[in-house]
Symmetry: C2
Subunit: 503 residues, 2 copies
């Protein structure tokens, strides 16, 4: 075995190559969703498969494993190095324990299942998708069986996105959520629905305003881009090349909120310690923490009164008062914070969104446990929508077939969306304590102190702290839905003058 | 050794992976010149270096070499497989014979030399670049020494771009060129220079018209893109994903001609046999042949009377007669075929361009031979410009420092630009014989027969035929400058009514 310093150098060299392959694939993925002509799809599939295979081989290479094992024994490592070894060790361990055969089976079946899902959606009928989903569940059970040490097989799926989180914990937190959200929802929906914004919002001006807001949140043309894509997303290619995408539609301001959401994700990547570049630890630590950053900027900042005190006059200037239904800020805030149960997750508001996720989580766990047969999924879906959201689902297309995630076999992914809401609220409690002048800052359009706080406490660490460690370090608590519920109650109480809620 | 069929399958698997790495690098290069934010440069350099290293390792892998050696012995291979084995064998042989140490030295020195070139250009003084170029020449001599079997060391440099071509042959052809071009140039420049087009040519309309012409030349949005870049180029990512770039300037139609040029390159890649995808032979066979395709579309089609009989009325409609100095087609043709010696290669016209290249070729050969000291290069440059083009060079910035190629150490590259002109003319002679109705086609804006001819005779073969084989198969001749000279004499004779030239 080499000396520790040499071993760290050797590790960083290996990680550099691996990270470069991941970056090349990330660029290919970004291009596929933004600029690639349709004819390029098949060649792109080959390139992505090769890059993925080469990256996987490097992560599972016995030489890397030996290096990591030796370094894990070394008590003389500095804090950064020790955490890096631990983070990479978790990745390598997970990658090695899933046999190549299973990885291949999953990849091949995902292609088949997508075709089946598209056909089922076109027919508005779950039946043609059923066998494909059954096979996905079977494969995910096999995958879970590679990790016999977990308390619940679904834990093994969760850990792909949220290392260390357990099904048991999530159940408790989601029960808190259900119990708090359903009565709140009842109180809000008893009130009249605020009128929608009349529009129109010409796309060019939306883009201009979105870029102004983005700039106030840290976007600059030296390190960022804004492009169009059918489904908004962000892709970072290292901390100095952050690519936001959105979709503008002149009838709504959705694209503007999508930019705030994606810039929130992007800011996380942008503020990661540059010393973590080319280590595979220079990215967000989990999907849940990542989503907390996008939700924080989209909802806690971007739907707040202080924020719009600064930006609402600019909105009026850009689109005219008529497009906004007048110049009344309070009416505008009620409209952008409208709560209305809908069958569709991606159209859901801040209060109902997590209930969509909880339904999916419960169904996924039941399918993995075997207590819910895939054949019964549509009935369970429709019953759950009625129970959680009071929504009657009229067909599979707007019901159980609405998301593509299950066609990818991605069980364990949906919870991260709700975790994002929960974590954002937990962080927000600490932020408000640490930054007593935050409202005044936002009223001036100034986000510098907030960005610095996020950079110091969350962003810079990259993957050197797990989501659980990060949350404990900052809030002194595990995942906890109460701050989220409290904040929603306060906000909607004030906006809608709900009984028992301070106005 | 495996059975031949298995060996071919094994070869194609290896080539597939190699080609995917090359494609990933090609995308990263395209993105770097189009959309990458400046902050991404350093990470991009790492990604490109890693992809290049991994590709090089695959091309020089002993397993590949053994497979190629076995397959080269196999007399039962079909024509396509045998040619594929030969083409890949040439690449692998060249890659293996250049030691990694030298590859690394060249790569490292190229970074240093570029900095020196930029500094020298800023100072408008060759002196700070001299030591860097001296080292480049030294390194290229070392590289040439890896191929002791060539007749002239410069052959080894040429072969990177034009396998099989010799310095001796090129000297003969370039001598033909000089001897024909200098008197022609004298006759033309004795005439009055046609007035320039007044303009303006609004960028949006230029783009629209460029896309219409591109569509008539085979561009479609399913398989192509048009983007903006400072220096126009094309990048193919396989035959179904062709990315043209250009630069529009409202004072000239340069961007329009650049699109025709780049679409000519792109059409070559687009019409390569799809069965060659993922073999590293599914691309143009040499830079010279590639350039012949761009020049053919830009000059032989795009500056011809039949072509403009169709497009000139559309140009008038787009920009107005005033912008074009009137509606006279003949005057327009004289203007877009203006010949005027200039110190700058990239601004040169069809008649003077090759003389710029010949000068660079002669200087490169002399430096490699050691008969010209790098210290004497600026004097030799200025003397050559006077002799070949009658141009007085006022400073190094517009003289010996005008191109970045030597900062990259790219000796042997410049000749391919002139080879493009020569080959285009050789092909054109055969095309005019095979397609007697071509002028009528072009007058209708119809290029289908021409595209089919190029597809059948040149494009589909990809790298399965070397440039020499291709030229011999199609024209029955080696590289020969006479068709180029004859075509220029005819064209300028007609346009300018030169003595002794048919009007």
């Amino acid at each position: 075995m080499p000396e520790p310093a040499e071993a760290m150098t050797a590790l960083r060299e290996r990680l550099g190559e691996l990270d470069d392959l991941i970056q090349a694939a990330a660029l290919a993925g970004w291009d596929q969703q933004t600029y690639m002509p349709p004819g390029g799809a098949s060649a792109r599939g080959e390139v992505l498969a090769t890059l993925g295979r080469l990256a996987h081989a490097r992560l599972t290479d016995p030489g890397l494993v030996a290096l990591l094992a030796a370094l894990a024994q070394d008590t003389g490592l500095g804090d950064v190095d020790a955490r890096l070894v631990a983070a990479v060790g978790r990745d390598a361990d997970r990658a090695r324990r899933i046999p190549d055969r299973l990885v291949g089976d999953i990849a091949r079946h995902t292609v088949v299942a997508q075709v089946a899902w598209h056909a089922a959606r076109a027919a508005d009928d779950f039946a043609p998708f059923r066998p494909a989903l059954e096979r996905h569940v079977e494969l995910r059970r096999e995958l879970a069986a590679c990790f016999p040490e977990v308390a619940h097989p679904y834990d093994a799926l969760l850990h792909a996105f949220e290392p260390g989180l357990t099904t048991e914990r999530l159940r408790k937190v989601f029960t808190q959520m259900r119990e708090g959200l359903i009565p709140l929802l009842g109180a809000i929906t008893a009130r009249a629905v605020p009128p929608p914004l009349p529009g129109p919002f010409p796309v060019a001006r939306q883009r201009e305003l979105a870029l102004q807001i983005a700039a106030a949140h840290g976007f600059d043309t030296e390190h960022w881009r804004l492009d169009l894509a059918v489904h908004p997303f962000v892709q970072s290619l290292g901390p100095s090349d952050i690519r936001v995408t959105t979709f503008f539609d002149e009838t709504t301001l959705t694209g503007l909120f999508a930019v705030m959401h994606e810039v929130g994700h992007g800011l996380y990547e942008r503020q990661i310690d540059p010393a973590l570049a080319r280590t595979i630890a220079g990215t967000g630590t989990s999907l849940g923490i990542h989503e907390s950053q996008s939700r924080l900027w989209e909802n806690l900042v971007g739907r707040s009164e202080p924020f719009w005190r600064h930006w609402h006059p600019r909105l009026v200037q850009a689109f005219g008062a008529a497009a906004l239904g007048g110049e009344d800020l309070e009416a505008f805030l009620r409209t952008i914070n409208t709560v209305r149960p809908s069958p569709i997750r991606v159209e859901a508001d801040e209060a109902t969104y997590s209930l969509h996720v909880i339904l999916r989580f419960e169904l996924e766990v039941a399918m993995i446990e075997g207590t819910l047969a895939v054949a019964d999924l549509p009935y369970a879906w429709n019953a759950g929508m009625q129970e959680l959201l009071g929504v009657h689902v009229i067909s599979d297309r707007v019901g159980v077939l609405q998301d593509i995630h299950w066609a990818y076999g991605e069980l364990g992914y949906f919870p991260t969306y709700a975790i994002g809401n929960i974590v954002a609220a937990q962080l927000w409690t600490v932020i408000r304590r640490d930054l007593p002048a935050l409202d005044e800052d936002l009223e001036r359009g100034d986000t510098l102190a907030l960005r610095r706080w996020l950079g110091d406490h969350v962003h810079r660490h990259g993957r050197l702290r797990t989501s659980g460690e990060l949350l404990m370090d900052i809030t002194g608590s595990e995942l906890d839905a109460r701050p989220f519920l409290r904040q929603l109650e306060l906000k909607y109480g004030a906006l809608y003058g709900l009984e028992g809620h301070p106005r």
